[in-house]
C-alpha cells in the first residue's frame, strides 16, 4: 500500500510535468518557427555539455541557501520575506571585506562570508524582534525592509566601495584571496556548492535532530502548545529568523565570492522569492531543498538556453516556469484517482484482514 502510494506520487509528478510541458509547447508554438528544436533545447540543453550542466549547479547554490533560509523562517510560522534583502545585504557586507587586499587566503573568504551572514542575521532579526516585542506584522515589515536594504546597499556601494575607474556602479575588484575556488574545470561551479551541501545537511540535522530545531517546529505548528510545554517561544522565533537571515546572508556572500569579480547588483537579485518557491516545493523540509533547488535551476537554465539559441522570446520562459511550478505543487491534482486507489486498497485489506 505504502509503495503503491509512492509510485502513484511519482506518476502524478511526472504527469504534472508532462502537462506543463504540453502547455509550454503550445506557448512555444506561438512564439517559434522551430518549436521542436526549442523544446528539446529547453529539456536537454542543460545536459548537452559540462558547462551547461555546470550552469545548473552554479544556479543551485544561491537557491540552496535562500531555500533553506526561508524554510527555517517559515518553520516557525513566521511569514518573513526578508531573505531577499538579507541575500543582498550579505553580498554587500561580504564585498566590504573582500575588497580589502591585505588578507590571507582561506581566512579571507571565511571572514567575508561571516560578514555577509551577520548582516543577514541582523536584517531578518529585526522584523522578528518587532513582531515579538510589539506584535508588528513581520510580513509587512520584512517586505518594506527589503526596499530599505536595497537603497542602503546601493548607498554603501556608491559612496564607500565604488571603483571610480570602473565605467559602471560597481565596487572595487574583489581580492583574489577572497574568491572561492572553482571545483569543476570548465565550469564556474565553486566551493560554495560544498558549503551549501554541508549547510543543507546541517540544516536537516538542526531541524529534525536538535532541541533547537524541535523548538522551532513546535512553535511553528502550535505556539500555544509550545509555550505550555515550557518553550520560550519569543526567543525561538527570534532564533529562527536570525538563523534564517544568517543563512540567506551567507548565501549572498558566497554568490558574490564565487561568481563575481566585483559587486555589481543594482537591484534586488530575486533569490529571496526563489527561496520561497524552493521552500514551499520542499515543504520546509531541508532534505528536500536540494530537489526543489535543482528543479528550479534546471528549469531556469533550460529556459535560458532555449531563449538564447532558438527564436523563442526570453520572456516566454517565465510563463513556462510559472505553469510548471503551479502544476507540480498542485496537491489535489489527480486526487480523485488517488482516492480511488486508497479506497480499493482499504477494501482489499479489510476483506483479507477479516
Amino acid at each position: 500500500m505504502f509503495k503503491q502510494k509512492k509510485l502513484f506520487e511519482l506518476f502524478r509528478t511526472v504527469l504534472a510535468i508532462v502537462i506543463a510541458l504540453i502547455i509550454a509547447l503550445i506557448t512555444i508554438l506561438f512564439a517559434s518557427e522551430e518549436p521542436g528544436r526549442a523544446l528539446s533545447l529547453f529539456l536537454f540543453g542543460p545536459m548537452d555539455s559540462l558547462r551547461h550542466f555546470g550552469n545548473v549547479l552554479e544556479m543551485m547554490i544561491p537557491l540552496l541557501f535562500t531555500g533553506l533560509a526561508v524554510s527555517l523562517m517559515f518553520s516557525a510560522a513566521q511569514f518573513n520575506l526578508g531573505a531577499e534583502g538579507a541575500f543582498f545585504l550579505g553580498g554587500i557586507s561580504a564585498t566590504a571585506v573582500a575588497i580589502n587586499q591585505n588578507l590571507i587566503p582561506f581566512v579571507h573568504p571565511v571572514l567575508s562570508i561571516l560578514a555577509g551572514g551577520l548582516a543577514g542575521a541582523v536584517f531578518c532579526g529585526i522584523p522578528a524582534l518587532l513582531k515579538v516585542k510589539w506584535n508588528a506584522s513581520e510580513l509587512v515589515s520584512s517586505l518594506m525592509f527589503n526596499y530599505v536594504a536595497l537603497f542602503l546597499g546601493l548607498y554603501l556601494i556608491n559612496y564607500y566601495m565604488r571603483d571610480v575607474d570602473a565605467g559602471a556602479m560597481v565596487s572595487f575588484r574583489l581580492a583574489e584571496t577572497s574568491k572561492l575556488v572553482k571545483l569543476i574545470p570548465g565550469t564556474r561551479v565553486h566551493f560554495g556548492l560544498i558549503i551549501a551541501a554541508l549547510t543543507v545537511v546541517a540544516g536537516y540535522y538542526f531541524m529534525y535532530r536538535t532541541r533547537w530545531g524541535y523548538r522551532i517546529r513546535l512553535t511553528g505548528l502550535n505556539s500555544s502548545f509550545a509555550r505550555y510545554s515550557g518553550i520560550r517561544t519569543a526567543s525561538v522565533i527570534i532564533l529562527s529568523q536570525v538563523l534564517g537571515g544568517f543563512i540567506a546572508g551567507s548565501g549572498g556572500a558566497i554568490e558574490i565570492l564565487g561568481m563575481y569579480r566585483r559587486f555589481s547588483w543594482q537591484s534586488l537579485p530575486g533569490y529571496g522569492w526563489d527561496g520561497i518557491i524552493v521552500a514551499i516545493l520542499a515543504r520546509n523540509n531541508p532534505a528536500l531543498i536540494p530537489v526543489g533547488a535543482f528543479f528550479l535551476a534546471y528549469l531556469r537554465i533550460g529556459a535560458d538556453l532555449m531563449a538564447r539559441s532558438s527564436d523563442v522570446q526570453s520572456e516566454v520562459v517565465y510563463i513556462i516556469q510559472g505553469v510548471m511550478i503551479v502544476l507540480i505543487a498542485a496537491e489535489s491534482f489527480l486526487a480523485h484517482y488517488r482516492h480511488k486507489l486508497v479506497y480499493r486498497e482499504a477494501r482489499k485489506s479489510a476483506t483479507t484482514g477479516e
Binding site: T210, A226, R227, Y228
Partner: protein
C-alpha cells in the same frame, strides 16, 4: 441510511456497511468508543462527507445529500461536536448566516434579531441576539447552535456530544428543551459518552464499534453496563476502585491568591489552599468561576498578580513554565487541541514536547532517535493509544486517543504534582476509566493531584477532599468527600451556601 461505507483519504475505514434508521419523533442515541465512526456517519447524513457506498432514504425516498445545503433543505440540522460559530459576529448574524433575510441589498439585521428572539422564546432557549459570540459562555453558545439548526427548519436534529462542555445545570436545562422539541414533533439524534444521560433522555439507541453498527436497542431494555460492553467489547468498571488516601507533606501551597483578568475583574479572589502528596484535591464549581485562571497561574501560563504560590517549597513568582515543570509539575490542559498537542506533528514528537531537551532524549547536540522511539512505543502500549504507528499525525487520532497522548506525556515524568484540568472531557468510557485509574495509581505512588472538573460525578468519585469555587472564591472545603451529598455540593457551587472563613481556612493545612 443503508449499508454506508466511508473511507477517508488516509485509508481509514470510518464506516463499514452501517445501517441506521430513525423513527419520526424519537430521540435516538448514537454511542460508541472514540473513533467508532459516529461523527462520520452524522457528517454523511448532513452532507459534509460523502460515502463510497450506501444510500440514504428519507420517508422512503432515496435522496442524495451532496452538501449541507441539501441536508438543510430536507430539514436536517446538525449541532457539531465542536462549535461551528463565527466568534466576531453577533448571535443574530450567526443565526441567519447562509440564509440571511434581506432588505434591498443589505442584510436585514432587525429581522434577524426579531426572528432570533421569537425562536428563542418559542423553544425556551434564552439568548441575546446582539451579543457577540466571543463574549458568550459555552452554555449559551450551545443554545445558539441548537437555535441555528431550528432556524433553518430542522425536523431532524443531530446533536454531536452537546453535553461534553455543559455543567450539570445546563445539561438539565438542555434536556428539558430537547423534550420540548420532541413534543413539538422534532426527531433528535443524540451522541454522548455519558451513558446515564442516554438512559435519562433517549428512546432508542444504536451502538457503533470499529466503524460498524452493533445493533439497535430500546433504551429501556439495556443497562449502562450492557451498553458499555457492546461498545468496548468487554466489561467496563464504571466506578473507580480506590483505597483511602494517605496524605503526606504539602506539595502545592497557594496563599492569598488574586487574579485580575483582562476585563479588570477579579477572576480569582484571595484564595488559599494546599495539596498534599498522596491525595487528590478536587476543585468543583460551575465552569467560569475562576478555575481556568487558577490553573493558568499554577502552571505559569499567566503571571501572578497578588499572593503567593509555592510548589515543592519553591515560590513560583517570576519562574518560567519550564522552571515550574522542572519542579515536577505536570499539566493536563483543559483545551487539548490548543494546549495539549500539535495536530500536524506525529505522536512520537508530541510525546516529547516537555522533555525534548532532557539528557535522556537529547545528547549534547543531537537527539537520540532510538531511545525516543523506545519511549514512544512504550507509552503507546502502556496507555493503549490506538494508532497505526508512532509516526502517525496526531490529528488522525480520535479525540479520546488524542487525550491519551496528552496524558501519557504528562504522566511519564514521575510527577510530584499533577494538575489535571477536565482530564476526561469528551472521551469514551473505556478511555475515561483508564485515565481515572492512572490518576489514582499516581496518587498512591505519592503524587499530589489537583483535579479540576465540571463533571460532578468525576469530582465526587475521584477526589479525596474537595474545594468548591464560586465567583473566584472558595465557598467550601470538604475534607472527606464521601460524606458529601450532591445536593449539598450544588448549593456551594451556586454560591447559595458558604462555609465560615475558619472552615475554609482548613484547606491550607497549616
Amino acid at each position: 441510511m443503508n449499508n454506508i461505507t466511508k473511507v477517508y483519504p488516509n485509508g481509514i475505514v470510518a464506516n463499514e456497511g452501517v445501517d441506521f434508521s430513525l423513527r419520526k419523533g424519537e430521540i435516538h442515541a448514537l454511542v460508541g468508543e472514540n473513533g467508532a465512526g459516529k461523527s462520520t456517519l452524522m457528517k454523511i447524513l448532513f452532507g459534509l462527507e460523502h460515502p463510497e457506498e450506501g444510500e440514504i432514504l428519507l420517508k422512503g425516498n432515496p435522496i442524495n445529500i451532496g452538501s449541507p445545503n441539501v441536508a438543510i433543505e430536507h430539514g436536517i440540522g446538525m449541532v457539531h461536536q465542536h462549535f461551528m460559530l463565527v466568534p466576531s459576529l453577533t448571535v443574530a448574524e450567526n443565526m441567519v448566516l447562509g440564509s440571511e433575510p434581506r432588505k434591498g441589498l443589505y442584510v436585514n439585521i432587525k429581522k434577524a434579531s426579531t426572528e432570533t428572539l421569537e425562536l428563542s422564546r418559542k423553544y425556551n432557549l434564552a439568548v441575546d441576539p446582539s451579543a457577540r459570540i466571543r463574549d458568550l459562555p459555552v452554555g449559551i453558545k450551545q443554545k445558539v447552535e441548537i437555535l441555528k439548526a431550528l432556524y433553518r427548519g430542522a425536523e431532524i436534529l443531530i446533536l454531536d456530544e452537546p453535553t461534553a462542555v455543559l455543567t450539570p445545570q445546563e445539561t438539565k436545562e438542555l434536556f428539558e428543551e430537547l423534550h420540548l422539541l420532541k413534543e413539538q414533533g422534532s426527531t433528535i439524534i443524540f451522541i454522548s459518552h455519558k451513558l446515564h444521560e442516554i438512559k435519562e433522555l433517549c428512546d432508542r439507541l444504536t451502538i457503533m464499534r470499529n466503524g460498524r453498527s452493533q445493533g439497535v436497542f430500546n433504551v429501556a431494555d439495556v443497562t449502562e453496563k450492557d451498553i458499555s460492553r457492546l461498545m468496548v467489547g468487554r466489561d467496563v468498571i464504571l466506578e473507580v476502585e480506590k483505597g483511602p488516601a494517605s496524605p503526606a507533606a504539602v506539595s502545592l501551597k497557594v496563599e492569598d491568591l488574586t487574579v485580575v483578568n483582562d476585563f479588570g475583574k477579579k477572576a480569582v479572589n484571595n484564595i488559599s489552599f494546599s495539596v498534599r502528596k498522596g491525595e487528590i484535591l478536587g476543585v468543583a464549581g460551575v465552569e467560569g468561576n475562576g478555575q481556568s485562571e487558577l490553573v493558568e497561574i499554577l502552571t505559569g501560563l499567566q503571571r501572578i498578580n497578588f499572593g503567593s504560590v509555592e510548589i515543592e517549597g519553591v515560590n513560583i513568582a517570576g519562574k518560567s513554565i519550564k522552571d515550574i515543570r522542572n519542579l515536577g509539575t505536570c499539566h493536563i490542559p483543559e483545551d487539548r487541541m490548543t494546549y495539549g498537542v500539535a495536530e500536524t506533528l506525529d505522536i512520537e514528537q508530541n510525546l516529547l514536547a516537555d522533555k525534548h531537551d532532557s539528557s535522556r532524549f537529547t545528547g549534547r547536540i543531537l537527539t537520540k532517535p532510538k531511545i525516543i522511539r523506545e519511549n514512544s512505543l512504550k507509552l503507546i502500549e502502556e496507555y493503549k493509544i490506538k494508532c497505526g504507528s508512532p509516526l502517525e499525525e496526531v490529528k488522525m487520532l480520535s479525540g479520546g486517543n488524542i487525550q491519551k497522548v496528552v496524558v501519557a506525556r504528562e504522566f511519564s515524568v514521575e510527577p510530584k504534582l499533577i494538575i489535571a484540568d477536565q482530564p476526561t472531557r469528551g472521551i469514551d468510557v473505556g478511555a475515561t476509566e483508564f485515565i481515572r485509574k492512572r490518576l489514582v495509581e499516581l496518587r498512591d505512588e505519592g503524587s499530589a493531584v489537583l483535579l479540576v472538573s465540571a463533571d460532578l460525578n468525576e469530582v465526587l468519585e475521584l477526589s479525596d477532599s474537595l474545594i468548591v469555587m464560586y465567583n473566584g472564591e472558595i465557598t467550601a472545603y470538604i475534607e472527606d468527600v464521601k460524606s458529601l451529598g450532591e445536593e449539598e455540593l450544588g448549593l456551594f457551587m451556586l454560591g447559595i451556601n458558604k462555609q465560615s472563613d475558619s472552615e475554609i481556612g482548613r484547606a491550607l493545612h497549616v
